[in-house]
Every structure is written in structure tokens, then in C-alpha cells.
Symmetry: C3
Subunit: 286 residues, 3 copies
């Protein structure tokens, strides 16, 4: 339980059906699209440099993931990031494959410096991006979430982004009005990392929750500058809570990752506001 | 029920196991391949400009879908379309993402002008291609099928293509010997648009049904020129009836889109001639 | 039953969790990644020419499959093959789509000449690569495994590679110390070829089993030069036995390829050393 209003974050996502542009790796495109549909968002995977920016102006949010990036995708990402930045719309960077090779590490660092609303990765990826680790080997995590928390907080301060670390117990870190907010989310299942795309699609869903946050000044909670930041933090935590809840429910009847993946899509779909509100989330601010 | 011989169209597809070349978006390649295999066709996704045309000469039909098109795919499509046109083999255009951005809209219109045997899209895509709407936002439909029927008929007359509009109640429109033929197909399920690729793979299956139509002059119904056109119309309707039937059956036991997607592949596979013949199809000619 | 120690090959794979780089076609990337995860390996699909070689130095093995190859992938493959060859690490060539068109056939032959540890394809693909057949039409096989065995043995002798032929009854052929070793593996199910990627992902799993073979000189069976070759032959046979066993088990409760595909991932995951040891494998050496 938490004081964050995760239930409303979920309700807003379902109500707004945001269009999410994903410039993402081809391994997880199908799964990410199905995940977005299951949570009530609309996926669009346009990634051509000739029109990615034009499309980004239509989208509600943008996900960048360079796991199998092509030159076309690198150029499309540059243009789309510019477009959503100009529109003050949220975008999320998934640093998957950082540290694996110099070329893509350079491009990922460049994207991180462009001001993402949120950065979501596993522990080794976040450590690598923060300069505190060697990076991952593909989509796997070798570091632990707890160990990487200080690096995640540094990264949040340095970039202004909300930083989310996926693992057995997820963490979401944000630096708001000089205070470090840390949410820890329990849930999921050991089968989750055996289904390709569960991490990458969480980046897509994080984008969808952020896209459903009301624009500044329109919120019912309008007030000091930090309110928008807190709503974005809540959105990122809600995305992780949604996955944690569905990831736990998906284990029912699953003997392995095949059935689990199917159940997971169904659980994402059937999870409602009330269930999200009862997710196991602990928040500290210091 | 209908006078169209959908049962024979299905039997011919199963008997001929046509090789279908798909130059299609990477989000739906896997699902489209599995769908083609489930209905008895053989998929091939070769999309390199260096050999797409050579391969097209081997294929029984060609699907073009520019959802995540690369320059390689645009060039491959140009060449493959030329090849199947020279061979008088069927090809289908799925205008997904038309209207989303100028660059790809231009390429989609160019393909539409190259004489596709059929065009299959959702209502907003067909409206956009016919010049009567703003286009879709990704794979979603925002217009209704009924509203777009006049535009679909215009498009069929203008291009000579059979035009299929997917929605809660699909429509297939063809202009044959000066008469507008319209088939309406009932079936499917609300989960269907929550599974990525159900629309795009219907384009692939439409191609497969068309590839199974006997070449002109070899038909048992040989006769006036309109016979070939009527058989192609029947093939497109049969593809949609097959999806409608399987889409309805797939809901059994499904709590969400995960289980539904699995059931759908099984239902496509188990649907037989007799079940296709009993699909809910209404045809008018005026 | 066989004298080959398939059980230990499987145990080593589970214990070593090898990182497998796949430069493979986009149709099967997701399925192949899920299959690798299910058997205990870690997939990475990096395929950019700028860093594929650098990443290959980190990987335990490399799979090359040009089914939907782009120019980027062709260049990445050249570089990655050089890297793993320099490191004396295993790599596997899947000649899917050979014979379909001249351009890719040329590139596949070039890769075959670069000294793969193993070559895995269906009967028509192996026949085409050996110069004894016309090649496949996509991912399908039109020749039979038995008929292609002599060509497979020729290919093994000519290239030094272990040659695996997939079909109703798989064959693995290796020329070791002047003797042709042939293993025949029974299992699988008629639904298997109706699931896209079951062949292509077997290439990935073959790479994973090979990556788990202890380096020369460290084996408990250290001895004559042929020992390493025999362990690699055992690894390739074990990969096929794993698929045969899981492919058979996956049929339980499956009415079609949808449920079968899900079951197959679960069966790959739950198959243990003991079950692999009891697979139906017959080996001859002559």
C-alpha cells in the first residue's frame, strides 16, 4: 500500500487510450504491442527517419530502445525525440544493451543526455548508464536492484529523469524539489525474465502511463511546481505496480514460460484500478 | 449464408498450399507467418531489394504492408509488385499507417496506383486511401465500416481492386461488370483488435485465398469475363469469413487477449469447409 | 537410447547459461529468444555491422540465419563470424532460404565456406547447400531426410562442419577421424512445422549446446584430438533430442498450432537431464 494514487493513474490510462510510438527492437515489437493493447494503449512502431518526427507529433508518448537498432532507427529516434521534446510530451529511454559494445553505448548515452522523462532498465543497465557498472549482456541483469540504488539516484539527479530499475523487487527513483523519492514494488514471478520482452514492454507501458498524466495546469491537484513531477513519478510507479500484479497472477497454472506469457497478457488486461491500488508498493522520501 | 461458394474457396486453399511472399511490418511477421501456416499456406518474408523480385516469380501471391517499412522494403516492394504483375499473379495492399505521415502515405498511394488485386484495411485507412478521411493512428480504426462503404465503392471503381474493410462487421466491395458487389461478414470478437496482427494477417490470408483461385480459363465455371472476377471476390470474402468464424470460436475460454490469440490460431487451423460455408455472410449486388 | 552422453550435455547447458548472439531473421527473433531462455541460455540479437564483432567477442556462440537479411545483417555476420573464429568459439549456419534467390544463395554459400561448427537446415536446404537439390521455398522442406543423407555426409566432409537435417526423423552427420557418424533422432509432432521458428530456433539451441561444450584440454574426457569433435557432435545431437522430446510432449492437449507452440516452450523448459537421456536416438559410425 502507498499514498500514491496508483488507482487514478490506471483509470486515466484506460480512459485516455494514449497512442504510444515505439522505436524499439524487433525482438520485442510484437510482444510490446500486445502488452500496450492489453493495458488500454494504442501501439505504433513507426521508425523510419523520414517520418518518425511527423508521427511523434501525433503520438502521446515515445519509447526509445536500441536493442537491435538500425541506422534508420538511430536517425528516427533523434528526430522523434526532438519532436516530443518540442511538444513537452513524455518519452522513455530503455538502455538495453548498453555496455555491450561501444557504438550503441555511445548512442544510448546521447539519448540519455537528451532529457528523457524516465529511464527504465535492469540493474546492470542502470549501473552502466550511471557510470557505475559494466552493463548488461543483452536483456539480462547481473547486478542486484539494491546495490544499484545509489547509482540510480545519482542518475536521476544528473539527468532529471525518473529512473526505474527492474528486478526481483523493482525500484523507481525520482529527485523532486530536492528530495529523493524511492518506491519499491514487490510482485512478479521467477518466470518473468524467461519471457522475452517483459522488461522492454514495461518501458512501453511506462510511456503509456506517463502519456495519461494530465498536462501541467489541468490537474485537479494543481499547485506547486512539484505536483506535475509527483504525478509523473506516480505514473511510473503505477506502470511497475501493474506489471508486478499481473506478473504474480500469471503464474497460476503455469508450468513454464509459455503458458506464463499467455497468462501475463490476460492478467494485464483484467487488472483493474482496485487491484492496482492494492499492489505492494513502499515509498520513501528523504 | 450466401450463394458464394466459400466452401470450395477454402478447399482450394488447403489443397494448393500456396507460397505467399509477405513484405510486411516486423511487428506482425511472426503472427502472420503462424496464421498463414494455420490456414494451410506457406509464408516467406523475403524483403531484400536484391532478390524480392526473383522470389516473387516463385511465389503464388504477394502481400504489401508498409507499417514499419524500411528503404529496403520500399525498393523490394516496387520490384516484387512488378514481378507478380508481369506474372498475372494476385497481390494485396494493406494501407496500414496511411495518413500517419506524408512519406509513407505517398508510398502507399503509389502502391495503390500499381493495380493491387485487393486492398484490405480498417475503415479509417480505407477512407484515407479513398481521399475521404484522415487516416488511422497505427493499426486502429476510428471510423466505422458502414460510414466508409461509399468511399470503399469509389476506391474499388477507381483502382479496379477488390476493397475489404475490417471492423465489427467486415465489408468486401468489388465492381464487377458495372455492378457493385458488397458482402458483409459477421463474426469475430471484441478481443480481436486487442491482438496485434489480426488485421495485418488477414491481408496475408486474403492473398493466400486469392493465390488459390484457378488461373483464368482453367476454372470449372469458365465462361464470361466476369467469372474470374467473381471467383476473386469470393476468395476475398472467404478469407474474411474464415477469420470471422475463427475469431468467434476463439473467445471460448478466453479471459483476455493472451488466451484469445492462442485459441485463434487453433480455430483457424480447425475451421473446415463446412464451417466456412455456414459463416454469416450477406451479399448484395446493385 | 544411445552411448552419447546427452544427459551431461544438457546439464552443462543449464549450468553454463551461455550468451548466444543471433543474427537471424526478424520473423523468428521473438520465438528464438523465448526458446533460448526456456532451455537455459541467454539470447542477444545484436546485428549492427558497427558492433556485431565486438559483441561476438563477449558471446559464447553465434547463430547466422539470413532469412530476412538486411545489408546491415550481411555485414554484421561477416564481422561476427571473423570474431568468433578468432576466438575459436562455435557458430552455426542456418541456410534457410538458400536457393530461393541468387543474391542470398551467394551470401549463404560464402558463410558456409567460412567454416561453421555446424550447419542446420531442413532436407531441401541441406541438399541445395550440398549442390544436390534446388533449395527450399521459405522455411519449408520438400525433400526427405533419408534421401538427403548422402549429400549431408558430403557436406560434412567438404566443410568440416557437423551437418544437421531437420525433418520427421532428424539426422546429424559428422565426419570425425575419417569416420562418418550419423545420429537419427525420433520425436516431434506434425504440428511442429506449423509453428514458425521451430526450425530456426533449433539452430539457436544447437549453438547454445555447442557453447556449453568445455574448451579443448579442459574436458574430463581429455585425450585424442577426436574427443573434442565427439563432444561437439554430442552437443548437436543433444539439441535435437531436446527438441524431439519437447516437440512430442507439446502435443498433449493441443488441437492446433497455437496451443502447441505454448506447450512447446513449457516442455523445453521442463525437460530435464534424465528425459533427454531417454530420448530416441540411434547412432551409427562407419
Amino acid at each position: 500500500m502507498t499514498d500514491l494514487d496508483l488507482s487514478s493513474a490506471h483509470a486515466r490510462l484506460r480512459a485516455s487510450n494514449p497512442l504510444i510510438q515505439c522505436i524499439t527492437n524487433t525482438v520485442v515489437q510484437q510482444f510490446s504491442a500486445n502488452v500496450l493493447l492489453a493495458v488500454g494503449a494504442s501501439p505504433a512502431m513507426l521508425d523510419h527517419d523520414a517520418d518518425a518526427a511527423q508521427f511523434a507529433h501525433l503520438a502521446g508518448g515515445l519509447l526509445i530502445n536500441f536493442g537491435t537498432a538500425t541506422n534508420q532507427q538511430f536517425l528516427a529516434a533523434d528526430a522523434a525525440i526532438e519532436a516530443v521534446t518540442a511538444d513537452a510530451k513524455p518519452w522513455v529511454l530503455d538502455p538495453v544493451s548498453i555496455g555491450a559494445a561501444d557504438f550503441r553505448t555511445t548512442r544510448i548515452r546521447r539519448a540519455a543526455a537528451a532529457g528523457p522523462t524516465a529511464i527504465r532498465g535492469n540493474a546492470s543497465e542502470i549501473a552502466a548508464l550511471a557510470g557505475a557498472g559494466a552493463g548488461g549482456r543483452g536483456v539480462e541483469s547481473t547486478d542486484e536492484v539494491d546495490a544499484v540504488l545509489p547509482a540510480a539516484a545519482d542518475l536521476a539527479r544528473a539527468t532529471g529523469a525518473i529512473v526505474a530499475v527492474s528486478g526481483a523487487r523493482d525500484a523507481v527513483v525520482a529527485h523532486i524539489d530536492g528530495v529523493d523519492h524511492v518506491a519499491r514494488i514487490d510482485g512478479g514471478h521467477a518466470f518473468m525474465p524467461l519471457v522475452i520482452g517483459t522488461g522492454c514492454s514495461l518501458g512501453a507501458v511506462t510511456t503509456a502511463y506517463l502519456a495519461a498524466v494530465p498536462p501541467a495546469g489541468t490537474s485537479s491537484q494543481a499547485g506547486p511546481a512539484g505536483v506535475g513531477a509527483l504525478e509523473r513519478f506516480t505514473a511510473v510507479v503505477a506502470a511497475h505496480a501493474h506489471f508486478a500484479v499481473a506478473g504474480e497472477a500469471a503464474a497460476t497454472g503455469a508450468l513454464g514460460p509459455g503458458r506464463y506469457a499467455m497468462n501475463f497478457l490476460d492478467a494485464l488486461f483484467t487488472t483493474d484500478d482496485d487491484r492496482i491500488a492494492r499492489s505492494r508498493v513502499a515509498v520513501t522520501a528523504a
